[in-house]
């Protein structure tokens, strides 16, 4: 990292303070260049050194340090450094309560050479609280990001609304929400929660495409532990209520969590490289060293002989994609479904797969919603979908039915059916029942559907099927059912899979298909928008 970029660090600022102080004391009018320099210096210092130190003590970096780590060296172009809040109540109008730039740093810069718009909330200024000016700064870069066609990254670290501003602050939130919605599907929006994010503020990250968190130092909740206690009499800590673990493993609000600020920002750089800049751009193709014609002998033995035995679908993904690099999304939530980004011959692809290791890889409410949202992101941003199927069906039971598995399962079905990006499906083992249809089947406009020799496409497992057909009378019919349906032939003879392939050739086949499908053109009938069963 060049030392040039360090120039932006407030602590290392070369501007002399004493000279400015002297001109004030003399009462003489301060020259414009001096005032500019003074404002810039103040803006760079945010809420002042004491607050910066206390931010560091919490194990958090400042808004500016975060931007420096996120963006390429010397690439940050800041906007609105001179914007100040406009509140005149409760003593806010006094000079010492004015901070140039207010409580957010905004601008654009480069990540591995590619353009990104970024805002970074400054906790050292009024706890990063959202004022009208703060919101206006964010809206400005979002508007430009949509016009230019480049992603928006938000680094959230805010105590909430600027209470002194009242409704002005609420209006600010709504302005941002509106833009989040209008940007949705136009440019990727990423939120990285790096401190508190509470109240109405949580809805901005919730509206963006991806929400990442920092372990132990970030929180997301509608109301904090105190309000929870007073309303529902529940005793709960911040961490339990809205920490990274809660949201990545239990609620599914956040997509992934990282160890600390530095880890999170470096991972965000990596993640950014998978994304196209906007819906106008194709999925990016990065230079690739992994040969597209690489055979993967490992795959010929990965599926166990016994169809009841589990294996790790992530192993399959790792061995097929470029350089075993798989950026998993929501790795701790609804683990019976894996989703994430990888590359095939350099091109970004979205990977979905049932995970036989967890709950037999069945589809339930959470995994359906997790999958559906991922499919829709990929479809919106021209990222081809590769689906690995080993699904025994939807999870039965009252918990699921009462929870609305019908409605939620329909989301995944809807998303796959609606998607017009290249869709490649590999059935590794089970593809049973309605879940077979849902998992990017040929019938939902799958472009290329393959079966491995171990594939079993059937209405259900042989045992259950025989019980229903014969009402428990005949027992040796199970073998007949297995022979008839527990193999890829019934699907293959009907053209529901395009080919039965040697597992070791899977990478070669996918790379070749993606090459061809890169020029795929498909559209859905005109509509204002579809009505996905929310």
């Amino acid at each position: 990292m060049s030392s040039l970029s360090l120039r932006l660090l407030p602590r290392l600022l070369p501007v002399s303070r004493t000279r400015l102080v002297r001109s004030h004391s003399a009462g003489a009018p301060v020259s414009v260049p001096a005032r500019i320099a003074e404002k810039r210096r103040a803006a760079l210092l945010g809420g002042g050194q004491a607050r910066i130190d206390s931010q560091h003590k919490r194990g958090k970096l400042t808004a500016r340090e975060r931007i420096l780590l996120l963006l390429d060296p010397d690439s940050f172009v800041e906007y609105d450094m001179f914007v100040e809040h406009r509140c005149a109540d409760f003593g806010m109008e006094s000079d010492q309560n004015k901070y140039p730039g207010d409580s957010v740093v905004t601008g654009q810069g480069r990540i591995n050479g590619r353009l990104a718009y970024v805002f970074s909330q400054d906790f050292t200024v009024f706890g990063g609280s959202l004022s009208g000016a703060h919101a206006q700064k964010i809206c400005k870069i979002m508007d430009q990001a949509v016009m230019v066609g480049a992603p928006v990254i938000g680094l959230n670290d805010s105590g909430g609304a600027r209470i002194q501003e009242g409704v002005e602050s609420l209006a600010g939130y709504a302005d941002i929400f509106l833009r989040n919605v209008l940007c949705s599907g136009v440019v990727p929006q990423i939120s990285l929660i790096m401190g508190p994010c509470a109240g109405g503020a949580v809805y901005s990250p919730a509206l963006t495409d991806f929400t990442f968190m920092v372990k132990d130092t970030s929180y997301l909740f509608i109301t904090g532990p105190d309000v929870v206690k007073s309303v529902t009499n529940e005793d709960v800590t911040q961490e339990q209520l809205g920490g990274a673990k809660t949201h990545t493993a239990v609620s599914g609000v956040a997509h992934r969590a990282f160890e600390n600020d530095i880890d999170a920002l470096l991972n965000l750089r990596e993640f950014f490289n998978y994304l196209p800049l906007s819906n106008r751009d194709p999925a990016p193709v990065r230079k690739c060293h992994d040969p597209s014609n690489r055979l993967v002998p490992e795959l010929d033995t990965v599926v166990p002989m016994e169809s009841t035995k589990a294996y790790d679908m992530v192993d399959i993904v790792h061995s097929i994609v470029d350089e075993r690099e798989f950026f998993e999304i929501m790795p701790s939530y609804a683990r019976n479904m894996i989703v994430g980004f990888a590359r095939m011959n350099g091109r970004t692809v979205g990977i979905l797969g049932n995970q036989p290791k967890v709950a037999s890889g069945c589809l339930d409410i959470n995994s359906s919603v997790k999958g559906a949202r991922f499919v829709r992101f990929c479809d919106a941003f021209n990222i081809p979908l590769i689906t690995f199927v080993d699904v025994p069906g939807f999870l039965p039971g009252t918990a699921q039915e009462y929870g609305g598995i019908i409605r939620h399962g329909a989301k995944l079905l809807f998303a796959f059916a609606e998607a017009t990006v290249p869709k490649i499906t590999i059935i590794t083992r089970k593809a049973y029942g309605g879940a077979y249809d849902v998992m990017s089947s040929k019938h939902l406009r799958g472009d290329v559907n393959y079966a491995w020799p171990t594939a079993e496409v059937a209405v259900m497992g042989a045992k259950g099927a025989v019980q229903i057909i014969f009402r428990g009378k005949e027992t040796d019919a199970e073998a007949e059912y297995v022979n008839k349906f527990a193999n890829p032939f019934p699907a293959a003879v009907r053209g529901f899979v395009d080919d039965i392939i040697e597992p070791s050739t899977t990478r070669i086949r996918i790379c070749r298909d993606l090459e061809v499908l890169a020029s795929k053109m498909q559209s859905n009938p005109w509509k204002k928008h579809a009505n996905i069963p929310l």
Partner: protein, 715 residues
């Protein structure tokens, strides 16, 4: 399932497609074997000898069962045995037929004589090659084969019985004027009797199950207390693994070498000694590195040992290949240890230096042909070294088993004069049920230095991912000055690494090289992450790549480096020293050949992540580094320290295995050093000791299966 037989046609009954693959695999392997055979074997086949057996059953698994090159060359059909677990294994794919003999535990499969006999009948195999281990030295098996008219490729029942019985073999050896060690063999009533016997012989003594081959389950006792403990373990192991209660207690020769003589005898009273193998480098009495010949033997000692070995073979009318093991003390006195009436794991190094194909000779002898060689025809040509590559963690007691799936596997066959005998392939599972051996890696050279140099290269070029392996230890051993000088004994490892193996210790220069390589790799990756193909709608900003300042953490040290890029070369300044690192920088390849100021190194990058963590296998050892920009490194001081779990109160299984005995109950008071439970893995019993005094709060049940690191007891 145990007794029920299931005919498996080359792979799977469920998937006809795999059949094709099996054939491709076999063809490929044959081709490779022909290449090695040209390199290693000088003895050619006599075209006048008619096809010997039409079909041969290999009663074994893993690499020995895959090592049926001889059969391929001679067009003998092979039958492999598999279990429910190993049906997709390499040896099964390479064989012409495979028969499933039961579930994974060996006592129900490869040791299940009934199932194997039925497999022989079903496949109409005319002969059985037992490989090593399992039933290879089981006289009952040989007898049953004989009664069915099936040829056992190995010595006859009498010789197996004589040599398999430690008392009888010693008596026979004594009568044949072979030097022997004082000792006792038989049923030992109790610990007291064991102590009495041990005192009679004089400490130190060695205790093991009489029926156990090699060093399995062998324990050394220096005093009465250790004798009692050894008695307990060995008698338990004797009963559970072999169903034979007899124990062997004998004088333990301190600081000895383990040198063995390969013999080959026919049914016409001819016997040869094929020189020695030095197998002194051992851990827990199991061989790790072997070489032939030994640096220690002079021609006279060699001849004396060879002649005694042949005398013993003749005394039992031995036929087939066998090995006479000796302990050799520092004064070159040698003592007969035992005779293995089978092919040894390390037989390839003898094949290398003598040019004989031992498997072929065994088949010839079994069919009744006389030996074709005279003693004077047996040469020592060059030098051969064998390293046993195990799936185990060498940092724990020089190797505790690890399990897993081989996610990537690439043998160093591109290095000249390298032979790899393995029974696994990419995707294979290493399970707790069998020996954790991945392969035996053999290199050959015109002299020892060349063989060792090639071994170093071969180890660096060996890609094994998904399981922990012992390459680091192997590489350290073969470059250790004591080993290079030939100054070894069976206590080499504990002598050289008294505090356990800690990996390679980097010299200052090596450390700089490692830092420079890591930096360059990081930079290559950074550069690559900006290389997008196609024409972007918004143009890419170019980065200045000169004089990047980075900070690298390695161990406890943090090292500032600056780096500049010029094509495929990175100039890295570390500690005021400039190093130029050149490579292809192929980030997908598991092996990376780099040149640092003219020195070529092969490294493996095992993992790297966005947060700057990178692990590199350099000089055999894996180093974990963290590379950050100078800015990120400066800011990382603000990052909170994460709390680390206190592990002393949790007893974790050091390896995957089965809990066979639990000595405490919940709520028991446990004192530091007390045995809590015994975990059996890879046929070894391991006592689990409490790390601190406390009250046992929970435990996993006896008979349960433990992953490495699973807590088996909380204190």
């Amino acid at each position: 399932m145990a007794a029920s037989l299931r005919q498996v046609v080359a792979g799977s009954w469920r998937q006809p497609q795999r059949y094709l693959l099996a054939l491709q695999c076999a063809t490929h392997h044959t081709r490779w074997c022909l290449i090695t055979s040209r390199t290693f074997y000088t003895a050619e086949y006599d075209p006048n000898e008619k096809v010997t057996f039409e079909k041969l059953l290999i009663a074994n698994r893993g690499e020995i069962a895959s090592d049926d090159k001889t059969c391929k060359k001679r067009a003998i059909k092979t039958v492999a045995l598999c279990t429910d677990l190993s049906a997709g294994a390499v040896h099964v794919k390479m064989a012409d037929e495979a028969v499933c003999v039961g579930p994974a535990p060996t006592s129900k499969s490869y040791l299940n004589m009934d199932a194997i006999m039925e497999a022989i009948k079903k496949t109409r195999a005319q002969a059985v090659h037992p490989g090593y281990g399992f039933l290879s030295e089981n006289k009952e098996f040989a007898r049953r084969l004989a009664s069915e008219g099936v040829t056992f490729i190995g010595p006859d029942t009498h010789a197996i019985q004589a040599m398999g019985d430690k008392i009888e073999s010693k008596l026979l050896a004594k009568n044949a004027k072979v030097n022997t060690i004082p000792g006792f063999d038989g049923v030992v009533k109790d610990a007291d009797e064991a102590v009495r016997i041990a005192r009679e012989i004089g400490y130190p003594v060695m205790i093991k199950a009489s029926a156990g081959g090699g060093g399995k389950g062998m324990r050394i006792a220096w005093n009465d207390e250790e004798t009692r403990e050894g008695f307990r373990f060995s008698s338990q192991e004797a009963a559970s693994s072999f169903g034979d209660d007899r124990l062997l207690i004998e004088k333990f020769i301190d600081n000895p070498r383990h040198i063995e003589i390969q013999v080959l005898a026919d049914k016409h009273d001819n016997a040869l000694w094929l020189n020695e193998r030095e197998c002194s480098i051992q851990r827990r009495n199991q061989k790790v590195v072997e070489e032939a010949p030994s640096t220690f033997l002079d021609p006279e000692t060699r001849r004396a040992m060879g002649e005694q070995a042949v005398a013993l073979a003749k005394a039992v009318k031995y036929s087939s290949a066998g090995t006479v093991e000796f302990l050799v003390d520092t004064k070159k006195s040698f003592y007969f240890l035992e005779m293995n009436t089978r092919l040894q794991v390390e037989h390839p190094i003898t094949e290398c230096i003598t040019g004989l194909d031992l498997v072929q000779e065994m088949i010839r002898v079994a069919k009744g042909y006389p030996l074709r060689h005279k003693q004077a025809d047996i040469p020592i040509n060059g030098w051969a070294v064998e390293c046993r590559v195990y799936a185990e963690d060498p940092y724990k007691s020089f190797g505790l088993p690890s399990i897993g799936r081989l996610s990537q596997y690439q043998e160093p066959l591109h290095v000249p004069n390298v032979r790899v005998d393995s029974g696994i392939q990419e995707g294979s599972d290493i399970s707790i049920y069998y020996d954790p051996m991945i392969s035996k890696l053999i290199t050959y050279g015109s002299d020892r230095a060349e063989a060792l140099q090639r071994m170093e290269e071969a180890l660096d070029n060996y890609v094994i991912r998904g399981v922990t392996h012992n390459i680091a230890l192997l590489r350290e051993v073969i470059i250790h000055p004591r080993f290079v000088q030939g100054d070894v004994s069976t206590k080499f490892l504990p002598d050289v690494y008294p505090d356990g193996f800690k990996g390679h210790k980097l010299t200052d220069l090596e450390k700089r090289e490692l830092l420079a390589i890591a930096t360059s790799l990081y930079m290559a990756e950074q550069l690559r992450s900006q290389q997008f193909l196609g024409s972007p709608r918004i143009s890419l900003a170019k980065l200045d790549l000169n004089n990047w300042e980075l900070s690298i953490q390695l161990g406890d040290g943090t090292y500032p480096v600056t780096v500049s890029n010029n094509g495929s070369t990175f100039s890295v300044e570390v500690d005021g020293m400039k190093l130029n690192v050149t490579s292809e920088w192929n980030l997908a390849s598991p092996l990376l050949s780099v040149t640092i100021d003219g020195t070529q190194r092969t490294i493996q990058c095992l993992s790297r992540d966005a947060a700057g963590n990178i692990s590199i296998q350099f000089l055999g050892t894996v180093y974990k580094l963290r590379i950050l920009t100078k800015l990120a490194a400066e800011l990382s001081k603000y990052m909170p320290e994460k709390a680390v779990e206190d592990t002393t109160s949790i007893l974790r299984s050091p390896m995957p295995g089965v809990v066979v005995a639990v000595s405490v109950k919940p709520a028991d008071l446990v004192s530091e050093g007390q045995e809590v439970c015994v975990i059996e893995a890879m046929k070894m019993q391991n006592s689990m000791i409490a790390a601190k005094t406390g009250k046992a709060t929970s435990k996993n049940l006896r008979g349960s299966w433990q992953h490495a690191g699973n807590p088996s007891c909380n204190l």
